[in-house]
C-alpha cells in the first residue's frame, strides 16, 4: 500500500506521455475493479454485469458534457466538474433499479441476472440513437484546456481515485462492512441475527454501482469518447479478471490486478494481436495454481506484507482463508 501511495504520484516523472496514460488507465480501471470487489470479495456474490454501472456513469457524464458544450467541445471548468459529478448518481440510480431485482437471488442466478440486465442496458444504449448516439457513441469529450494535458488529467484522476478508495476502505471497516462479510460467509446465519439481508445487499449494490459510475465518469474525458461497449460483458469481465489476478480477498487486490492487467495489455499488444490468448493463459494459470490471486501467493510464499490487508480482521495470512475454502469444498461435495 505504501509502495502504491508513494509510487503513483511519481509516474509523470517518467519520460514520455505513454506511462502517464497507462497509469491513468490503471487508476480508473482499478477503481472500477475495487467497486466490483465490494460485491464479490466482501459480499460473496459474483456480478457479470458490473460494467453496466461503469457505462451508465460514463454516459451520464458524457451526455451532460455534450449538452453543456453544445457539441462544440468547449466546456468551462465548472461545467466539467458538474458533468463529472453526475456520473456516480446516475450509476447509483441504475444500480438501485437493477439491484432491486438482483438481490433476490444468489450464486449462479445472481451472476446470470446481472449479466442479463447488463446486456439489456447495453442494447438500450446501443439502439437509442437520439439520446446515447447508438453504436457511434459520443465523441469529442474534450476536457477544459487545463485538463487536456495528460499529466494534469492524471493528477485529477489520482486525487479522485485515491479519495474514492479511502471512502471504500472506510466503508469496508464499518459495521456495515462487517455485515457484508457476514453475508459472504453465511447468509442464513446473518438472517438469524435479525439482519435484513436483501436490504444490505441492495445498499452495497448501489454503493458499488456509484463507485463504478465514478470510474466511468473519469473514463469518458480520458479517452475523449464513450461507446456502448463500456456497458458490455467484456468490460465486466475486465473487473472480474483484475480482481482475481490481484486477489479478491484483499482490499488492494483489484488495484494490484489492475496494475498487472493494464501493464500486460499495454506491453503485449505492442507486439502481438493475440492479447486474448495471452490473458486467457494467465488467467488459466492463476485459477489453476494460485486461486487466491497474486497477493495470496505473496502471503504464502514470501510471507511479508505487500500492501496487503486481509478482508477479515484477525485473519492469519494463509491459515484461515484456506480453511474457509476447504469448508466450502466440503459443503459442496456433500450437497
Amino acid at each position: 500500500m505504501v509502495l502504491l501511495v508513494v509510487g503513483f504520484p511519481l509516474v509523470p516523472a517518467l519520460p514520455g506521455m505513454f506511462w502517464t496514460e497507462v497509469a491513468t488507465e490503471i487508476l480508473i480501471l482499478g477503481l472500477f475493479a475495487m467497486s466490483f470487489n465490494l460485491i464479490y470479495g466482501y459480499m460473496g456474490q459474483i456480478s457479470f454485469g458490473h460494467a453496466a454501472f461503469f457505462g451508465l456513469g460514463a454516459y451520464g457524464t458524457a451526455i451532460l458534457f455534450r449538452e453543456l458544450s453544445g457539441g462544440t467541445g468547449a466546456i468551462t471548468m465548472g461545467q466539467f466538474f458538474v458533468a463529472l459529478s453526475v456520473g456516480p448518481p446516475v450509476a447509483a440510480l441504475g444500480a438501485l433499479v437493477v439491484g432491486f431485482f438482483c438481490v433476490r437471488l444468489t450464486g449462479i442466478y445472481f451472476a446470470i441476472l446481472t449479466l442479463a440486465f447488463g446486456e439489456l442496458l447495453f442494447y438500450v444504449v446501443f439502439s437509442w440513437y437520439t439520446f446515447t448516439g447508438g453504436d457511434d457513441g459520443i465523441q469529442r469529450l474534450l476536457p477544459p484546456p487545463f485538463f487536456r494535458d495528460a499529466t494534469a488529467y492524471y493528477y485529477l484522476t489520482l486525487v479522485i481515485v485515491f479519495g474514492a478508495a479511502a471512502v471504500m476502505w472506510r466503508i469496508t471497516r464499518s459495521p456495515f462492512g462487517y455485515v457484508l462479510r457476514n453475508m459472504r460467509e453465511n447468509q442464513l446465519r446473518t438472517r438469524f441475527l435479525g439482519i435484513d439481508v436483501r436490504r444490505y445487499m441492495l445498499v452495497n449494490f448501489v454503493i458499488a454501482g456509484a463507485f463504478a459510475g465514478m470510474a466511468g465518469a473519469l473514463w469518458g474525458p480520458f479517452t475523449r469518447s464513450v461507446g456502448p461497449l463500456l456497458l458490455g460483458w467484456q468490460e465486466s469481465g475486465i473487473a472480474v479478471f483484475m480482481t482475481l489476478i490481484g486477489g479478491a480477498g484483499y482490499f488492494a487486490g483489484p488495484a494490484i490486478g489492475s496494475i498487472i492487467y493494464t501493464f500486460l495489455q499495454a506491453y503485449v499488444t505492442g507486439f502481438t494481436v493475440y492479447w486474448p490468448l495471452t490473458i486467457g493463459t494467465v488467467i488459466l494459470l492463476i485459477v489453476l495454481f494460485s486461486p487466491g490471486g497474486l497477493l495470496a501467493v505473496f502471503d504464502a510464499k514470501v510471507g511479508f506484507r505487500l500492501g496487503r490487508t486481509p478482508i477479515a480482521p484477525g485473519e492469519t495470512p494463509n491459515g484461515e482463508a484456506e480453511t474457509g475454502a476447504a469448508v466450502t469444498a466440503e459443503t459442496k461435495a456433500g450437497s
Partner: protein, 297 residues
C-alpha cells in the same frame, strides 16, 4: 406486410431452426451443470471449434469426393468424434481440477478457455467466415421460397432431443447420470466411478455441440464472436427452462428461438434485449425455471 402468412411462416421456420441449435447447445450445458455443477462458459466456443474442424474436414474430402451432402455427413461424424476427444481431454486435465472449488473460479476457468480457444481459432483459420455451400433448390411454400434444409435441421434437432430423452430415461447409463444429478455421493457409494461419469457427460455435451455445428454449416457461417452471442442465449434458455431438465431446455429453446426470430422484425438491434426481458421475468418469478424443481436450487 408483417401479417403476411409467407413472412410469418418464414420467420417461424427460421425461429424453429434457431431453437434447434439453442437446444443442442443448451442440453449439453444444462446436463454438465446438473451433473457436475460446472457452468461451462466455453461451451459455445467449443461448438465453434467443432464447426471449424468440420469445415476443414469437409473441404479436405470435398476436393476429391466432390462437395456434397454425403461428404458433409462424413465430416460431421469425424468432426464430432474429434470434439468428443477434445471434450474428454478438457475435462480430464482442466475441469477436473475445479470440482469443489468456488463458483467464480470455475466460471473464470471456462471464461479463460473462451479467450484461449477463440484466439487459437483465429490463429489457425484466420478471421474470415467459414461456411459450406450445398446446391439445394429452394422450395416454394405459401407464396414464399424457403430453404428445405430448414426442415432437415428441425428434424435432426427433434431427433437428437428424442434420443437424449430416451438415453436419459430408458438406458442404464442414462439412469446413472440422472442419479448423479440427484445425489453424487450415493451413486459413488454404489460403486460407480463418478470421475468416469463426469468425463463422459462433459464429452457427450461437447459432442452434441460439435454435431450441431456441423449440421448448421450449410446454413450458418462459422465466424469469430458468434460463440459469445450464442452462449448468452444458451444461458437464457437454460435459465428459462430450468437447469437439468431436458424437456424444459427444449421448450425454452423454442420460446427463445421463435421470440427472437419475430422480434428481429420489429426491433432488429434489440432482439436479444427481448430475450433478456424474458430471462429477467423468469428469474424473478421462478428462479428455478419453468421446468426445474424448486427444492434443489
Amino acid at each position: 406486410m408483417l401479417l403476411d402468412p409467407g413472412v410469418i411462416f418464414g420467420q417461424l421456420l427460421g425461429g424453429l431452426s434457431r431453437a434447434m441449435i439453442l437446444f443442442l447447445l443448451s442440453s449439453g450445458l444444462s446436463l454438465t451443470f446438473g451433473v457436475m455443477n460446472i457452468l461451462n462458459f466455453a461451451h459455445a466456443t467449443l461448438w465453434l471449434l467443432g464447426g471449424y474442424i468440420t469445415f476443414s474436414i469437409f473441404s479436405y474430402f470435398g476436393e476429391f469426393l466432390g462437395e456434397n451432402g454425403w461428404v458433409l455427413v462424413l465430416a460431421i461424424v469425424l468432426g464430432t468424434s474429434i470434439m468428443v476427444g477434445v471434450g474428454y481431454l478438457i475435462e480430464r486435465f482442466l475441469i477436473r481440477r475445479m470440482y469443489g472449488r468456488e463458483l467464480p473460479e470455475q466460471l473464470l476457468l471456462t471464461f479463460a478457455l473462451i479467450l484461449i480457444i477463440g484466439d487459437l481459432i483465429k490463429l489457425v483459420w484466420g478471421v474470415e467466415d467459414r461456411s459450406i455451400f450445398l446446391p439445394i433448390e429452394p422450395l416454394e411454400m405459401l407464396d414464399t421460397y424457403v430453404n428445405p434444409y430448414y426442415f432437415v435441421i428441425v428434424a435432426t434437432g427433434t431427433a437428437v432431443a428424442a434420443g437424449l430423452w430416451w438415453f436419459l430415461q430408458k438406458t442404464r447409463y442414462g439412469m446413472i447420470v440422472r442419479a448423479a444429478v440427484y445425489s453424487r455421493d450415493m451413486v459413488s457409494a454404489l460403486g460407480i466411478r463418478i470421475p468416469l461419469i463426469y468425463a463422459g457427460v462433459f464429452a457427450l455435451g461437447i459432442g452434441i455441440a460439435a454435431f450441431a455445428a456441423g449440421v448448421f454449416l450449410p446454413l450458418m457461417p462459422m465466424a469469430l464472436g458468434v460463440d459469445i452471442d450464442l452462449i448468452i442465449q444458451c444461458f437464457a434458455v437454460v435459465v428459462i427452462g430450468g437447469f437439468g431438465s431436458i424437456l424444459g431446455t427444449f421448450v425454452a429453446s423454442v420460446i427463445v428461438g421463435v421470440v427472437y426470430s419475430f422480434s428481429i422484425l420489429i426491433w432488429p438491434d434489440g432482439a436479444l434485449a427481448v430475450v433478456f426481458l424474458i430471462v429477467i421475468a423468469v428469474l424473478i418469478w421462478r428462479p428455478w425455471g419453468l421446468f426445474g424443481t424448486e427444492l434443489r436450487y
